[in-house]
Amino acid sequence: MPLTADQILDLPFDVQPDPDEFIRAAMEWHFNPETGCKFWLDRAATLGFDPRADVKTHEDLRLFPNVAAELRDVRGEDLIPRGYGNQPDVVGFFESGGTTGAPKRVVLMRDWLDRMVSWSNANLDRHGVPRAENWLGVIPTGPHVVGTLFRHHAVTHGRHGFTIDLDPRWVKRLVADGQFGQVDAYAQHLIDQAADVLRTQDIGLLTITPPLLERLARDEKLVALVNERVKCIRWGGTQMDADSRHLFKTEVFPEVALCGEYGSTMIIGVAGERAGISVDDPCVFDSFSPYVTFTVVAPKSLEPVSYGERGRVLVNHVSKSFLLPSNLERDVATRIPQVNGLVGDSVADISTVAVFEDEDVIEGVY
């Protein structure tokens, strides 16, 4: 029996909808005046096309302009699809890091949180990460969605969650002001707090950013403690270069599973490291297709690059809870085929857009 549009949007995380049917259902949901949110219903007037009539396939998402910048000023309530009724189960409103200007806002609905976390938990299972461990996260909480995702992960895949708060915006401010001594002191402050939890609690899984993991690794006693107790290090937030990943896996934490995640507030979730790849292979991230899909594109034309080539990461988020197609991220990645023929690309060797050396600064002889 064919699924209704509503059913397609409410499938369990491990049931794959037909990607094009899914897109049509999502367009119906987000652009029907009965069910869509105010932001998109208003925005539809100036799109120049009718999403319900014209967006029939995953490919057609390209018709959408990148409206991410408009999420800087949007009223939070205007992002809640009306179809959730009078008492929508809103987990919260969250903000992007604010690296490129003022932060952008998204809404996190309960059904998406459950679906995203269940999918991500299954990926940890594929990495052989044991269930029912206590988790420690050295992560952004506050306005950033990752803290909320972490707590939900910790109590569904793990048992209990402990968190140390990391304020990335403050770090960026310090870096912009050239206050590197303060950056250093703040990083040590975070490690000191994490060390206390690691020493006193039974922590089986550590979630941390690569720069902080590198900092933790400077302390041989802490390295020994992590090797003794922690079964999995889940890293994300910034990228880990291939050489560091190799060193972590082979020399620093040889007995600990190392599992990367690539995510952002604008994805409202993460893409997970593909399980079963060797330490010598590039770290590939698979997205939660068809809800979150990547396309690796040439930065100017926005046309996909060939597999194996590098390009900017363009992200579509299409779920019942939220719609943000054609969002061009700052990241550069290698285009890799998705698993099992799912729509969208997988990505590897992520880095931020290269900053070229400034030709103007040329005085001096060194």
């Binding site: 590198e214 400077r218 270069d241 291939a242 190799h246 060193l247 600064v361 040329i362 002889v365 060194y366």
Partner: protein, 454 residues
């Protein structure tokens, strides 16, 4: 393709993150392994753990390393191949690279001796010296691990940091991408001669890794421009090697005609790429005849590929040369143009260009252009008066004062921002192990520790 792995505490390390080193024409010549901060941290920790070689063995090893550096085939490169690579990538005239090979080797071989010039006469080297029985200073290291962010403008700059090894420091060198060859060859030679892998390392790395090198060391030396000086001027543990802005002063009692060779050499010797090459010349009276004469002499230099034995000018990729030219001509607005006013880019046809000499004349000793230091023979002339005094001569690595005014010499010697004062006719790039360059490195690396035995 020349393979340049990192030389870590456990041997050579080839990373996945490879920087292709291209020559001045854009042709790939070498592959340099860049290491991440994690690797740097682990290496610096290993240096800290490593044992120290006795001083006599260090001196012996450095003498042998110097010979290897100057003569041996190291990691597949003969001396000639090494020199060719330095010249092609850095654009330094080959004759200058050949000279520097000898200079570096001589300095390395004598480092154990040259460091002694910095030791205060009251200090002894060893607590076992009988002088400590009645109380004495023992000359001791301020730390154990020394980091160098090396320069890439000229291979001769690598003659200085080996003194740290002679003094017993464990040393980590971050090479410049413009000359990774010289420190690679030097570190490899030191290891072949007896230094252990965890005593001297080469860590090619990006900015984050560079910070980690300094962070992991007790003391560091950083070559760079104005921004480096600003960044580290207050850090007691980092010795910045900033702009040279070397100068010549010629007072009215000296006839410049007797010293034209020295003046021209100060500007253009070694390709004019050094911090010890003259950037500005102050003349009491009218600088015009001297500017004209120097311009005439420098105009004879012809653009040649850097590996040509007759090359005297530095070479850069055309894009870099043009960027330097744009910057120079913008700065030179309002100055009298003697040479280079219509451009300094001498294209060689293969994507590279020689930087042709430039001579400009300013009408005010306080003109800011006199501090514009560029990596080729480029000199600013300005008038000087006794009333202008020492002010325009401040912030100078080497000042050659051609004057008989002893009171003026006293004031110049007393000026704290002038590092070296050469009197009479002595080109500004003259160096000797007994004479400090910007102070002795050992001034920074060593301290006096009071010791008494009874």
């Amino acid at each position: 393709m020349i393979d340049l792995p990192a030389l870590g505490a456990t041997g050579a390390y080839r990373s996945r993150n490879i920087q292709t080193v291209t020559d001045v024409a854009g042709t790939a010549l070498a592959e340099l392994s860049l290491v991440p901060p994690l690797y740097v941290n682990r290496t610096m920790a290993a240096l800290r753990r490593s044992s120290i070689m006795p001083a006599d063995e260090r001196a012996d090893a450095m003498i042998r390393a110097a010979k290897l550096f100057a003569t041996a085939t190291i990691d597949g490169l003969t001396v000639e191949e090494y020199q060719h690579a330095v010249s092609r990538v850095g654009g330094v005239p080959i004759s200058s690279v050949v000279t520097a090979t000898t200079t570096v080797a001589e300095r390395v071989a004598k480092a154990h001796a040259s460091v002694q010039y910095a030791r205060p006469r009251g200090a002894v080297d060893n607590w076992r010296d009988p002088l400590t029985r009645t109380g004495r200073s023992v000359w001791t290291r301020r730390g154990n691990v020394f980091a160098v962010h090396a320069a890439g403008n000229h291979p001769g700059t690598h003659s200085i940091w080996p003194e740290a090894l002679a003094l017993g420091y464990r040393v980590a060198v971050r090479p410049s991408s413009r000359d990774p060859f010289t420190p690679h060859r030097l570190v490899a030679a030191l290891r072949s001669a007896g230094f252990a892998d965890d005593q001297v390392v080469l860590l090619p790395t990006d900015h984050a890794g560079a910070d980690a090198i300094l962070h992991g060391a007790d003391l560091g030396m950083v070559y760079g421009g104005e921004e480096v000086t600003r960044k580290y001027c207050e850090a007691a543990t980092v010795l910045p090697q900033g702009p040279g802005r070397s100068k010549i002063l010629i007072t009215a009692d000296v006839d410049w005609r007797d010293h034209l060779d020295v003046i021209v050499s100060s500007v253009s010797g070694h390709g004019g790429t050094g911090c010890v090459n003259t950037t500005a010349i102050f003349v009491e009276g009218d600088p015009t005849p001297l500017a004209e004469a120097v311009a005439a002499r420098l105009s004879a230099a012809t653009p040649l590929p850097p590996e040509d034995d007759k090359a005297v000018l530095p070479v850069q990729p055309v894009a870099v040369a043009k960027a330097i030219e744009r910057h120079l001509l913008k700065k030179a607005a309002g100055a009298r143009l003697w040479l280079g006013g219509d451009g300094v880019v001498g294209e060689l046809g293969d994507g590279s260009a020689a930087l042709l000499p430039a001579v400009f004349q300013l009408d005010d000793p306080a003109a800011p252009q006199a501090g514009v230091e560029l990596p080729f023979p480029c000199v600013w002339f300005a008038p000087w008066t006794p009333e202008a005094g020492t002010e325009p001569l401040k912030n100078t690595l080497v000042l050659n004062a051609m004057t008989h005014d002893t009171q003026l010499i006293d004031r110049l010697l007393g000026e704290p921002t002038i590092s070296n004062l050469y009197l009479g006719s002595q080109h500004t790039h003259w160096m000797d192990p007994s004479v400090p360059h910007d102070g002795y490195l050992a001034d920074f690396l060593m301290r006096n520790k009071g010791v008494i035995r009874n």
